[in-house]
Amino acid sequence: MDEMKGSHIIKLLRGKWILYALLSDALISTGTSFLMAVLTNKLFAWSVWWGILYGCIVFVFLFFVHRPWLVKEESIAQLLDQNYPRLEESAGLLLLSVSSLNMLESLQYKKTNNALQAINAPLSIGKKLMAPAFILAIMLGTGIALYKIPLHNNPVQKKQTIAPVAKVETILPQITAVSIGINPPAYTAKPVKLQHAFNLVAEEGSLVDWQLKTSTPVREVKFIFNDTVQIALQPTDTAHNQWRTAKKIDSTGFYQVSIDGKASELYKIETVTDKAPVINVLSPRQYTTIDFGQSQQVKINTTISDDYGIKDAFIATTIASGSGEAVKFKEQKIALTGFVAGRSQYQLQQLLLLPGLGMQPGDELYFYVQATDNHQQQTRSDIYIVHLPDTAQLMSLEGLGNSLTLKPEYFRSQRQIIIETEQLLKDRDTISEETFKNKSNNLGIDQKLLRLRYGKFLGDEVSGETTGADGLGDIADFSNAEKVMDAFTDKHDNSEDATYLDPETKKQLRATLTEMWDAELHLRTFTPKDALPFEYKALRLLKELQQKSRAYVAKTNFKTTPLDLNKRLTGDQSKINQLQLQKDISRETDPQQPVRIALAILEKIKIGSDNNNAAAILQQANLRLHEKAIRQPALYLTAVEALTRIITALNMQENVQAADMLIVQHGLQQLLTVPDRLPSAAASNSKQTLSKQYFDNLQNRQP
């Protein structure tokens, strides 16, 4: 058997060779099919499943090109001989049967057999797969890349990019050339535009200059604007071939060219109106209060934009100081830093230093931002208010004495805490560290007590006041469930406080409590200076609460006699006539009614049934369309033209174009709004007729 090994190896090698050839073909065809599938999918939107077919075709093609089944064992042997000199060109011997060999051959046979067995991984066939694998990787990579890159000729996109075909203008045959110069107004800073079509799009206030050339001399050329105003063109040469006129365009509409009484189709005039500047104040908020301890400055952050350019922008401030009749106002204009006239977009920031503006505690600052564009259009922002509270005012007792006060003692306490905190801060240098801490802590305790007392209004639980289960020790109360429950449960449900105050007051009280919490925190951590802003804020909120709960009673000094209810409405009214009014209110007709009917009439004309007053109603509808077209020529002008054609066709007893019909119906529909739904008596159906008969019979049977 040992002798057979050599031929066996060669056989194995042949098998391996064929297998690897097939594998490499498979790899290449896979790569090709993937690439093809992606390409055809992208270019022609074919299904990717076609890729399987491409793969099969390529594989079969390669299979027949390479013809791996033709690889013979002899050729493998030959290849082995070429690659391995130690086989001594005798690999072919291994394929012969041992019995047929002569002496010398069998010796060489054994030698070669041993040599072949000694070769490790002969021919290294595995490496043959490297190149196909590499090709496959490249093709896959390319395919994926192609898949990701959107191709421009993607059919889906192609459909979207088809723009609606602009309507070709028809001009009168006499006109050989037209040149229209549009000179936009100065504020737009735009150059003069020249065009050769009659449909105009111009900035509002543009001066439009028409120059026409006619093929033959004509008597007169006119423009008819909006079917009403006529402007005659002036000839510029003696041959009456060149005509010219100019007009300032202020509004949208349409016009016609009329040469010797023959009118053209309608051309639209669209104007681009200048928009007012847009101001957006990003900060501060509409109402800002600067509390004690905060830095006294306001940062104004604003964006301003306009379509053509801003000429001027500033902040207008008003400071209101004093109160009552002594209130004084000071107005000031502050230029925005970084503002350069002429641009269309600005993002500006400005820092207002309140003391710099002369603001005292208790004053209020009102400001707004104003901008003017090149066309003298002004916009101003909302008014923003910055309030600088007066701490001294908060401390005053004025107003407490002579009004209804709900919680006076607590205000005093908060005020007291502030006074004492300030005193403590003043004394800090003169007292010992320990006394300072003690006093601060005591103030914290006061603040806590105050907070707890307010908390009661909100139905908060009073901590530290639970007295434990005292009173339960009484033997008489043993197993008295009510008493035990009293001692250990919270009675949320019967808390009268919960509904004692209205929600708005409660909300404010809760805010006050939060401030008190913070004040207490700082007092207890021996930083009374930090506590001060919170104490002030708490006081301010309390003060507001107090103002709110103040009742106003008007002073009056007359008394009405009590009304005797028995006599009420018993006076003699016989001289008074009964009020009676009879009025016919002219019915407010739906102004769109002719248009609504016109829609149905067009439908009738479509199917060819004749209608006598069709033209009259369509004429009315056309009037409505006209009105719309003057304002929005782009939307309605084609419909006006089409409807005019339809009316003419009807009057001439001609056939109406279906395309015109569609345009008109579309235009009319756009014009119409949904009609009001008005109550009406519903007509009964047959079932109700039956039940009515039944009902009537029942009624008749009754005695």
Binding site: R596, L599, A600, L678, S686
Partner: protein, 598 residues
């Protein structure tokens, strides 16, 4: 039973024997006569011995093919091949072709069913409409239906709407295709609403639009797959003008809500009378768009009958005299006038009170109520009510408006032939003043329409089927109480009407419309409206689908059975025995006499 073939064999042997005997007889005279007589004798004996042998095979096995629209040629070829026989093919229209065989026309279904009473009818194609199936009844059929059709399988919309009413097209679509289908409702060439039907599903759909035209128009329903239009069907819609209501408002004190409503309605041309008491025995009367009341100014039944709706607040009804209240009550009960009562929170004992018990409740005054229209369950109205009073539900009442917590703010009840609507809303004007005019209109449209007196039109026409086709019979139904002669004229054609046996006001007739499109109803006295006749080919897929369904149902109800009864029916009449016996005896006598004479 002895097999037929044995009998035939015996008979043939007998016949051969007899022939041989006759042939070999020396006397050759009347040989053929004798032979014929022998044959006749044997044959008659044979049939006498087994008289029904020829009919024993079930005759129902005779097959007849009926071709209807949309049959698939391959399946018919297949069927003919399998049965390997010449099967007669019938159809009901002249222009249906099937290559290779001549098709017979069926002109009279009654005659056809009588002729083929014993045969099995194989129906190919989409099947028949209900009328033809009724003629076929009770003949059983086997239905070879084509695969399910893709298309609209059901459709409905209200053809006649009032201005501002919404057009709702409802139906279902069978999408048996591999792609999504878009259904588009188109009005005058512009798209109004659309819905997507997913591939391979059967889906119900609903398309909405509020028509803006007045009069008759034809919208279209289009089924599209990508850019291909699969189906385009006409959707005729008529917008009929409505008659404004006549309204009487009784008010115990001047009130802005009533004033606002009065102004709004009178500007729209409604005839409104407002009676407001301003002091003791002093009232302010306003007659808008209508003549002033003559006479004493009392509310009498005949005066109240002029109005479609009486609206009053609770206190106003307490202030008027008992006689007037009784007049209101009887008008509502007998004449069908609607009554709208504005309830306040107070108790009262009037005739309507027990339908609408009220309760006042606490509410956070900051918040707005969202009232829901429970009749259509669609619209929501936002209103601020300071002192809400709600109505407790009573059996028999219909809830009209309720809030999110199901507190009722308006409800109604049938009262005699009229309706009573109660509402606790006192400040509906605030909806309009808040800028929501549409909601205000809808709210009052709902309340007034619910209450309004029903009109009984002098004559009303109804047509069946839903899709009447040109040159096809349409059942016309007239509702009219007194008809001078049971004839209606439709465009030069008379329709003869038959009175319904139970509903004396209903009259029926058959009409074959000969032109399509909108056309006036048949004329009796006046012309009350229009109806739409579809052209041939309109809604074809829907009709095919309906035919298929009807025929399937018919086939399921009338399955083919080979029962004894069927055979009994097919047996020949009994007197054939007699004829056979006479022939046999005749033949035997001839042979006997011939032999004796011979």
């Amino acid at each position: 039973m002895i097999n037929w073939y044995y009998l035939v064999a015996i008979a043939s042997m007998l016949a051969l024997f007899l022939f041989y005997k006759e042939w070999t007889r020396t006397k050759r005279s009347r040989l053929y006569g004798r032979l014929i007589a022998s044959l006749l004798a044997v044959l008659s004996l044979l049939f006498l011995a087994h008289p029904y042998a020829a009919y024993d095979k079930p005759v129902a096995l005779n097959k007849v093919i009926l071709l209807t629209g949309g049959y698939i040629k391959d399946s018919l070829d297949n069927f003919l091949q399998r049965n390997n026989a010449h099967i007669p093919i019938f159809t009901d229209t002249r222009n249906r072709q099937y290559a290779g065989s001549n098709i017979q026309m069926v002109t009279d279904w009654n005659a056809f069913t009588a002729k083929h009473a014993a045969d099995t009818l194989h129906v190919f194609g989409n099947g028949f409409n209900d009328e033809t199936l009724a003629l076929l009844n009770p003949h059983s059929i086997i239905f070879h239906s084509p695969p399910a059709l893709s298309g609209i399988s059901n459709i409905y919309w209200k053809q006649q709407l009032e201005p501002g009413g919404e057009l709702v097209v409802q139906g279902s679509y069978e999408n048996n295709e591999q792609r999504n289908i878009k259904l588009v409702l188109q009005a005058f060439g512009s798209h109004k609403d659309s819905v997507l039907i997913t591939a391979g599903t059967r889906q119900n759909f609903e398309l909405h639009t509020i028509p803006v035209h007045t009069g008759n128009a034809v919208y279209s329903l289009i089924a599209m797959a990508g850019n291909d239009t699969l189906q385009k069907e006409p959707v005729p819609v008529a917008i009929l003008p409505t008659l404004p209501l006549q309204l009487l408002i009784l008010s115990s004190s001047p009130d802005f809500d009533n004033t606002y409503l009065k102004n709004y309605l009178s500007q729209k041309g409604y005839r409104v009378t407002v009676i407001t008491s301003v002091s003791a025995n002093k009232t302010n009367k306003q007659f808008l768009n209508m003549p002033a009341q003559e006479g004493t100014g009392r509310l009498t039944a005949s005066y109240l009958n002029k109005f479609d709706v009486v609206m009053a607040d609770q206190e106003a009804l307490q202030q008027i005299s008992p006689a007037e209240l009784a007049a209101i009550r009887s008008t509502v009960q007998e004449k069908g006038t609607g009554l709208i009562i504005k309830l306040d929170g107070r108790k009262n004992v009037a005739f309507y009170a027990h339908f609408f018990p009220v309760k006042a409740w606490q509410q956070n005054k900051e918040s707005f109520l969202l009232l829901r229209n429970t009749v259509t369950d669609s619209n929501v109205y936002k209103i601020k009510i300071t002192d809400p009073v709600s109505i407790a539900y009573q059996a028999g009442t219909q809830i009209i408006l309720q809030d999110a917590q199901s507190n009722i703010y308006a409800s109604g009840i049938l009262y005699g032939s009229g309706k009573i609507i109660a509402t606790t809303l006192q400040n509906t004007f605030s909806i309009a003043l808040a800028g929501d005019k549409t909601s205000y209109q809808q709210l009052w449209w709902l309340l007034l329409n619910k209450a309004a007196k029903k009109t009984y039109p002098d004559e009303a026409w109804r047509t069946n089927p839903f899709i009447p086709l040109i040159d096809n019979p349409v059942q016309m139904r007239l509702e009219k109480t007194d008809l001078p002669a049971p004839v209606a004229m439709a465009d030069q054609t008379s329709i003869y009407l038959k009175q319904d046996a139970l509903l004396t006001f209903a009259w029926k007739g058959i009409y074959w419309p000969n032109k399509g499109g909108w056309q006036p109803f048949p004329r009796v006295n006046a012309v009350p409206g229009n109806w739409y006749v579809y052209k041939a080919g309109d809604w074809q897929q829907l009709l095919d689908h309906q035919y298929m369904m009807a025929t399937k149902k018919y086939a399921a109800l009338h399955p083919v059975t080979f029962t004894k009864e069927v055979q009994a029916v097919s047996r020949p009449p009994v007197n054939i025995h007699l004829y056979l016996l006479i022939i046999f005896l005749g033949a035997c006598i001839f042979l006997w006499v011939e032999q004796k004479s011979g």
